[in-house]
């Protein structure tokens, strides 16, 4: 049908790149989500006026190209003589980037919990923390989940940019093979297919959770 | 004249109209009552061709509505309809809502369309609301605007599909008053309604629909005071 110079070891190389994409995404989404929850609660609790500095700072991560953020992050760690490897730098920058989006999702989720539900909890004698833990968190999580899945998929796609710092993730691995084998279309299509294959389970998992939770409403 | 002959209509396997015959003369007011799912609203959308029919004929002033050669857009200018859900165009002001069809469908110049729209809106008591957007008005006001919007096309016939059913009880009166006014001016109307008192007052004839069949049609005194059909008796007993 068609012939290709692609070998099994090249495929392993691509798989290794995909592994790097997944690793960067997993670390960044995990750290970004934790930060996002903290920032989101702060934004909700302090109101738009007092949390304005935080809002402004986070907005920068959404209004400056990620590529520029990565370059700046790398320059900063070198200025501060932190000696971080590219993987650490990439994850730190991507985590903050993720946190900026996640904060909005979390705040929206908390906002969606009806005031009366919270009043009911407090009037039963629950503390602020108990109200947050047992009433707000479960309700807000359900509302936020679809957006959070979307964010995770978005971060996975955006993680391709860490190639600029020298990390060999999926897209960079494909590019290296393209240069060596001179079969750009075939290898890039393969690369695109791998992105699809990685996205699918995440999207599925999100839909599964949504369905599992919805009968309780 | 609207002539409805043996009209059948189904949605999937559900037959909603099972052979309806009804003739409405010019200047006549016919109200249609009956339980939900009796097919009375479907009949109205079949009259102006918004729904197709399975068999039978609807003839309006000699034009067969469901014939392939009929220009439905032309025909609908003659037959106005107002729905339960008033369907105000939210992106247009009240005046623009009413002016749109005269301008784009009849091709009238702006000044002429505006003159007609102002006249109709004044007629339904909305002269003060010309430059307001529908979202700023009550349901009753929006429904009266929808009536003015239909009237601006100078229709010969008006169809009203439960126009007060979606309104708060407080707002029903103002819309019914508008309909009474139209009836007294000699407009030919078919009104599907749940307002029995209103039906008794304005109608020349009242039709009772039951499960896709027109069980009974008679002048209001006879239908309300001496119903012939057992289903009519049951229905009236339940609604009083």
């Amino acid at each position: 049908m068609f012939s290709t110079a692609l070998t099994w070891s090249d495929l392993a190389f691509l798989a290794h790149g995909a592994g790097m994409t997944l690793a960067v995404t997993a670390v960044s989404v995990a750290a970004g989500t934790v930060l996002g929850i903290v920032f989101g609660v702060i934004r909700f609790q302090f109101g738009p006026y007092w949390s304005a500095p935080l809002t402004f700072a986070l907005d920068i991560f959404r209004s400056v190209p990620l590529l520029i953020q990565l370059v700046l992050g790398n320059a900063l760690q070198s200025i501060a003589k932190l000696g971080w490897p590219p993987f650490t730098t990439s994850c730190v920058v991507l985590s903050l980037y993720t946190a900026a989006y996640c904060t909005e999702i979390v705040r929206g989720g908390i906002d969606s919990v009806p005031v009366n539900t919270r009043r009911a909890a407090r009037s039963l004698g629950m503390t602020w923390w108990q109200d947050m833990r047992y009433i707000v968190a479960p309700l807000a999580t359900r509302v936020s989940l679809p957006s959070w899945i979307g964010l995770t998929l978005g971060v996975m796609k955006d993680s391709a940019l860490v190639l600029w710092l020298g990390l060999i993730e999926l897209l960079r691995a494909s590019q290296i093979l393209v240069t060596r084998l001179q079969e750009p279309l075939f290898i890039l299509l393969l690369c695109g297919a791998i992105y699809f294959v990685i996205s699918l389970p995440i999207a599925r998992f999100g839909r599964y959770l949504e369905e599992r939770w919805s009968p309780n409403d | 004249m609207i002539e409805i002959e043996n009209v059948h209509k189904s949605f999937g396997s559900l037959e909603v109209l099972k052979g309806i015959d009804l003739t409405v003369r010019k200047g006549e007011v016919v109200t249609v009552i009956g339980g939900s799912g009796s097919g009375k609203s479907t009949l109205l959308t079949c009259i102006n061709g918004l729904e197709t029919i399975a068999s039978g004929r609807v003839v309006i002033d000699g034009t067969d509505v469901h014939a392939k050669s009929t220009d439905l857009n032309k025909l609908r200018q003659k037959v106005g309809i107002v729905f339960q859900q008033w369907n105000a165009f939210p992106h247009l002001t009240v005046l623009e809502n009413v002016m749109l069809a005269p301008r784009k469908v009849l091709g009238l110049p702006k000044e002429k369309a505006e003159e007609i729209a102002v006249k109709q809106l004044t007629h339904v008591g909305l002269a003060e609301k010309l430059s307001v957007y529908p979202s700023r008005m009550s349901g009753g006001q929006q429904q009266r605007m929808a009536i003015a919007r239909a009237l601006a096309m100078s229709p010969t016939y008006m169809l009203f599909d439960e126009v007060t059913s979606a309104l708060d009880p407080m707002l029903v009166g103002e819309v019914l008053d508008t309909l009474r006014m139209l009836a007294s001016e000699g407009m030919t109307m078919i009104c599907v309604t749940h307002e029995m008192k209103f039906a008794r007052e304005v109608s020349d004839r009242v039709a009772f629909f039951h499960q896709g069949i027109m069980a009974e049609i008679a002048p209001p005194e006879q239908l309300f005071d001496a119903p012939q059909h057992t289903e009519t008796k049951k229905f009236l007993a339940a609604t009083h």
Partner: protein
């Protein structure tokens, strides 16, 4: 801790060059939006056409645009088309990649907007004697534009941010490209890129503000 001395003067002296780059950035973003809009309208028509092949093409386009990295799409234009003997310049490849991405996201946006307008609106228009085209043109379309407007302006901001990816395929005239060239000559990475970040931020905010003002004028209801 910081033994590094910042040299901001060098960066500020390069400001005119960088602003020229910013103009190129804006130009690519606007062009890609215009092309993307035209393609998105075509894709929306394809998806509604009922023709299997056309709607299949449109669906595939939207899926690829939304589920692969924007950089991947630019690489496809830059390297992938080489298989067919087509070699695009960095500018064209970047423009093609972003336009492809815009078209996919905008088409999905249009579909959502179309769904958001109740069918009864068109029906009300038809009952006044309008043709289906008239009902769409005067009743559905204006309402659809309002729903689609905000997501479309977000896409415009995305397009501006995406232009920075051109530097990875050798683009040197846009803001990121100019900054990278300056950086390669001076190694004042932080200063140059920080200034670039500020310019990107200001452009993004200006576009958002302009869109909001425009929306307030266009949609009064």
């Amino acid at each position: 801790m910081f033994s590094y001395t910042f040299h901001w003067n060098q960066a500020f002296r390069a400001l005119p060059q960088m602003l020229d780059g910013a103009l190129v950035t804006l130009e690519i973003a606007l062009l890609s939006m215009a092309i993307g809009l035209a393609l998105a309208i075509a894709l929306t028509v394809f998806r509604l056409s009922g023709n299997r092949v056309l709607s299949g093409v449109a669906t595939a386009w939207v899926e690829v645009a939304r589920n692969t990295p924007a950089l991947f799409q630019i690489y496809m234009a830059h390297f992938g088309l080489g298989n067919f003997g087509i070699h695009l310049s960095p500018f064209t490849a970047l423009l093609a990649g972003i336009a492809f991405n815009n078209a996919g996201y905008l088409a999905e946006n249009f579909r959502g907007a179309l769904k958001a307008i109740p069918e009864t609106q068109a029906r009300a228009g038809r009952s006044l004697g309008m043709s289906s085209l008239q009902a769409f043109r005067y009743i559905v379309l204006p309402q659809m534009l309002r729903v689609a407007f905000l997501p479309a302006t977000n896409q415009m901001v995305w397009a501006i941010l995406m232009t920075s990816l051109g530097v990875t395929v050798g683009m040197s005239s846009d803001l990121a490209g100019v900054t990278q060239e300056l950086n390669a000559r001076s190694f004042r990475t932080f200063e140059f890129f920080a200034l670039a970040a500020v310019i990107y931020y200001l452009i993004a905010k200006a576009v958002t503000l302009a869109a909001r003002l425009l929306a307030a004028r266009m949609f009064r209801y």
